[in-house]
């Protein structure tokens, strides 16, 4: 069931179009994350859903009701923002209890809810402290708790983990997912951190320059990026890219020509696809570090390279190999100490080569 629907939504700030023709829907009990670099329009989108910003055109529906002109406080929405906006004169406990008191819940119920929320967010220790005495990360968790303790139709979370240290962040990703799933809540979370998006979400919406780039499951985004932007934005270490021209190799097969080097495109990958209209166009070939393998010199299609650097991380390692002027990062099993300038051969995982148009970044294969 659709919980929230955005239909051709635009947001202009004067001349600047911050959000352009955005349409998507969020399902009931879904964890959707909007991710993108700063300035991509993700926070504006969330603020429009919350009613904190007026939409320039388009429609927003919550529970099938159009909410364009409903005031923020009358929308059945809970919010947690990057800035904490806590009551400075109230203790952590009372900050959490506050939204419940206004709804005339019994004292016992309030205590139970506050205590269980505090436990989930590891806040028990700080319950009698006021915000001024707490670190940014602790304040942020209280602000998150205050949003989650409310009963609402949908929960909007804007960078809720940004001020936490690395370990806390990893712990809280787990807790956020559990709170959402076990209580069957609908979450829209905004973040710039693609690792966070991949780790928690049911689906992810990638935005760039005010436009939707791709909406899909974490697996979709990782294995089947819709365009060059998504391919580059998702994944760490990042995808390798080689710039070249789509050409026919001497055998008549389709290939990507990068300077003197010609990378044949595997038959399995291109069968049934017509790429002839892209012939002689500038293209970008993308392969993730996990989908490049070292191989024997004699293997057909083996690409020669020279070791540029090698990092051994204990169980896996990252080998940077140079071929022509392109550098490829390759994930390898650790154990062997590769030397700089050592000759290596590698090949691509046939079904995991992506091809993009250099002109507009669209995926063509």
């Amino acid at each position: 069931m659709e919980k929230l629907v955005l239909e051709n939504v635009y947001k202009n700030y004067g001349e600047v179009e911050a959000v352009k023709d955005l349409s998507f829907s969020v399902n009931d009990k879904e964890f959707l994350t909007i991710v993108g670099p700063s300035g991509c329009g993700k926070s504006s989108t969330l603020r429009m859903i919350a009613g904190l910003e007026v939409i320039s055109s388009g429609n927003i529906y919550l529970d099938r009701q159009k909410i364009n002109s409903i005031r923020a406080r009358d929308r059945d929405i809970a919010l947690a923002f990057e800035s904490y906006a806590l009551y400075p004169h109230l203790t952590a406990y009372k900050n959490l209890a506050f939204p419940l008191q206004t709804k005339k819940t019994s004292k016992k119920e309030i205590a139970e809810q506050v205590e269980s929320t505090m436990a989930l967010l590891h806040l028990e220790k700080y319950q009698n402290m006021k915000p001024g005495a707490l670190s940014g990360g602790q304040q942020q968790r209280i602000s998150l708790g205050r949003a989650l303790i409310r009963q609402a139709s949908i929960y909007l979370l804007d960078e809720p983990l940004s001020h936490l240290d690395a370990q806390e962040r990893v712990d809280l990703r787990v807790q956020l997912q559990r709170i959402q799933k076990l209580n069957e809540l609908t979450f829209i979370l905004v973040t710039h951190d693609q690792l966070e998006a991949l780790a928690m979400s049911d689906r992810i919406l990638v935005m760039h320059e005010g436009r939707l780039q791709q909406l899909g499951t974490p697996e979709d985004l990782y294995d089947n990026p819709a365009n060059l932007f998504v391919a580059d934005f998702i994944g760490e270490p990042p995808m390798n890219f080689a710039h070249g021209t789509l050409a026919r190799s001497t055998g008549g097969r389709l290939a990507v020509r990068c300077e003197e080097k010609v990378f044949d495109l595997p038959q399995r990958l291109i069968s049934g696809k017509d790429l002839s209209r892209h012939l002689n166009e500038k293209v970008v070939m993308g392969v993730r570090p996990e989908y490049i393998h070292l191989c024997q010199k004699t293997r057909s299609g083996a690409i020669p390279g020279s070791v540029y650097s090698y990092e051994d991380l204990g169980e896996i390692g990252y080998l940077m190999a140079v071929c022509n002027s392109e550098k490829f990062l390759i994930e390898v099993e650790s154990g062997y100490q590769y030397k700089i300038h050592e000759e290596v051969f590698f090949c691509f995982d046939e079904m995991h080569i992506c091809l993009f148009s250099e002109e507009n970044g669209e995926r063509i294969l």
Binding site: Q177, E236, L313
Partner: protein, 371 residues
């Protein structure tokens, strides 16, 4: 006899910088409590630790920017304690990159060479060399304000590396970069260090940077050295659970239990679970440490299998990352490929004990299994 003496002196020459029992107080706060480390010539020594560990303090003491309360610092076998910073022949790059905004990248890079009164031609050559290596050659005529954050960082790195000194000190030099650029920079950095064989002491809180760049690693925590060793030792033989959990993502999983002897064999017991070990170990309260890669999904329950309940599930790169409840502990592991688990789902996992660590009740390593 003679050769032996020479060997000794050669070996000592390998030790570029030695810290012996260094203590440092800020008022009543003890920042360093007896830190001893050795940095070898031509190597990268990484100081790894969480915030407040004393990493930056250690670096500042080496640079001469802070005094010590007690302890000795030797540089090329010479006691350094009372030498002024400028007499120490070390170059320091701090996390914040201070570039001169009003002059070009070229002049930013060359400024320390002008100060050395080097010949113009040599300066130009050296700047070009460094700029090529760091990929900032096309921007030599621009001012820093016209560069991206990553490019500025590389200029800062270049400024530190251009001065020919015996030891480079770096404090989180790439922490400001976005994640993608960091991967690229680590590769560049590693290439540079190995090609030029320069000696570096590198401070970071990031285990990945430490493992990537360090020949030796010192793990610092609350002003004390938890472990100093080669990066292989730090990874495979962590001296205690702190070091074990500092390195790796997900961190090493820990399971509390005890070792008992049954029928002449050692058994690790936790809750209702018992694993028979190949090794013979002393009885007592123990912690079993096992890395994510040694945990596999099991088709059926059998030897070394455990039942677990899925606690959360997500994606990390091409892997699926799963937290699961094993008895009272939460294990975190990654499985290769795309898999989906529901919260609460019951699964069976199998543990491979090769390389697993046994810690005693003081959380210190007593044995690595299967070695």
């Amino acid at each position: 006899m003679e050769t032996e003496e020479r060997n000794v002196s050669e070996r000592e020459n390998q030790d570029l910088l030695v810290l012996k029992q260094v203590y440092k107080n800020y008022g009543k706060v003890e920042a360093l409590k007896g830190v001893s480390i050795v940095a070898k010539k031509g190597e990268c020594l990484v100081i790894l630790g969480p915030s407040g560990a004393g990493k930056t303090t250690t670096l500042k003491i080496i640079a001469g920017l802070e005094d010590v309360k007690s302890g000795e610092i030797y540089f090329k076998n010479r006691l350094l304690n009372n030498l002024e910073p400028k007499e120490r022949n070390v170059a320091m790059v701090f996390e914040t990159y201070a570039l001169y905004p009003h002059i070009s990248v070229f002049d930013n890079l060359a400024s320390s060479l002008y100060a050395l009164k080097m010949e113009e031609e040599k300066i130009t050559e050296r700047v070009r060399e460094i700029a090529m290596m760091l990929g900032i050659y096309p921007f030599l005529n621009r001012r820093p304000g016209f560069l991206s954050g990553g490019q500025r960082q590389r200029v800062a790195l270049g400024r530190a590396l251009i001065k020919p000194v015996d030891l480079y000190l770096m404090d989180e030099p790439i922490a400001h970069l976005d994640a993608k650029l960091r991967y690229q920079m680590i590769g560049e950095f590693k290439h540079l260090q190995e090609t030029l064989k320069i000696s570096i002491i590198y401070v970071t809180h990031d285990w990945r940077e430490a493992m990537s760049l360090g020949n030796h690693i010192v793990v610092l925590n609350q002003g004390k050295v938890e472990q100093y060793g080669t990066k292989e030792d730090i990874f495979r033989k962590p001296r205690n659970t702190f070091v074990a959990q500092m390195i790796g993502d997900p961190p090493m999983n820990l399971l509390s239990g005890r070792i008992e002897t049954e029928g002449g064999r050692s058994v690790f017991k936790t809750g209702k679970i018992a694993f028979t070990l190949k090794e013979t170990l002393a009885q007592g309260e123990r912690i079993l440490g096992i890395r994510s890669s040694k945990i596999r999904l099991a088709a059926t329950s059998g030897n070394n299998t455990l039942s677990a309940e899925v606690y959360s599930c997500g994606k990390h790169g091409m892997n699926t990352v799963v937290s699961m409840k094993v008895g009272e502990e939460i294990f975190k592991t990654e499985f290769r490929g795309n898999q989906r688990f529901e919260i609460g789902q019951k699964i069976s996992i199998q543990l491979d004990f090769a390389g697993a660590c046994i810690f005693n009740e003081d959380r210190e390593l007593i044995r690595v299994l299967g070695e």
